[in-house]
Symmetry: C2
Subunit: 193 residues, 2 copies
């Protein structure tokens, strides 16, 4: 899986070959083919692995309130991309997203990731509402959809035109602060700086 990550960063999705992945690993191309019938099969497994790793990573989030945890989740999703090929990886992921309509397995994997992110945000917003931290008229489900859309947009624009992820992070914080937070809540007490 690490070799697939590195090979995707180096070669992108479209021109990736099984040999490129073998070159990054201690396994031969023949061994890879023994476990995965095709490059596609290996990539399905890789997306599945990504979703599992992300699930693990966002299971426990820093912060004492659900709002602070939501801010941590947003920060995790919009990490700056200075090091270790993260920009290249996001580019490969965008190529794979563009395969969604043509490849049922890709779409299924992408949908699982999309739902994971949505459901985690929704659960945090549910908790925030139960704790009286967000306005009563906040719809946790629709708001989670909106935030997932914003995160997707930030990643797409980052890849396509180099838009800074940091700008979106700051606008999302403003959105949460102004539009979701209940009027009587002290913003510094729930996790805003």
């Amino acid at each position: 899986m690490d070799a697939t990550y590195t090979a995707l960063c180096k070669h992108g999705y479209a021109s990736l070959r099984m040999q490129d992945i073998a070159d990054e690993s201690s396994k031969s191309k023949a061994t890879l083919h023994y476990h995965y019938e095709s490059k596609q099969d290996l990539l399905y497994a890789f997306l599945d692995y990504l979703t599992d790793s992300f699930a693990e990573r966002i299971e426990t989030l820093e912060g004492e309130t659900p709002i602070a945890q939501l801010l941590s989740l947003i920060e995790t999703s919009l990490e700056p991309t200075e090091d270790d090929g993260l920009k290249e990886f996001r580019t490969a992921l965008l190529e794979i997203k563009a395969q969604g309509p043509y490849d049922d397995r890709f779409r299924a994997e992408l949908t699982a990731f999309d739902r994971l992110l949505h459901d985690r945000i929704r659960a945090l917003l549910d908790d925030a509402r139960d704790a009286g931290l967000v306005r009563d008229d906040t719809d946790p489900d629709e708001t989670a959809e909106f935030i997932v859309t914003v995160l997707n947009g930030a990643q797409t624009r980052h890849v396509a035109v180099g838009h800074e992820l940091e700008c979106t992070r700051s606008m999302l914080e403003t959105y949460i602060c102004r539009q979701l937070l209940a009027d009587d809540v002290d913003r510094t007490e729930v996790g805003f700086e």
Copy 2:
């Protein structure tokens, strides 16, 4: 340009050949090559044409207030995709966005489109602020960036996982209504239904 649109919808970006475009037009492949050295050159011209057409389309927007015009612009960007290959076209466009980091000309064309959309939204928000329709603390530039990000996210999720564009449109309206509109403004009078 129409032939390029149709060919992109049918074949997608990655597997598109000059012959596919010729097949959709009254021109031969040789004639296309006379005008455009390569498939890439033709696609640069096509993106340029798209930006010009979109600029023309959003120059005059329906609605009597800048807010109503902003709602029209959002509606135009998030048109439902039932007919004439619009979903396929958005998919091809997402493939091209994923080429941004690897192709300077694509990135330049994509950036021109991104700026056009941003600047139009920004101008509408400037007008809305001058007319006292939005809160004084609205930053037209940052807010326009945020809306462009949301529109990109809606299109990415629509392609990747089939998320409904309509959901994003409704959430963006809520965002404008709750977070941007000045307190003393009657929402039905500025263009909300």
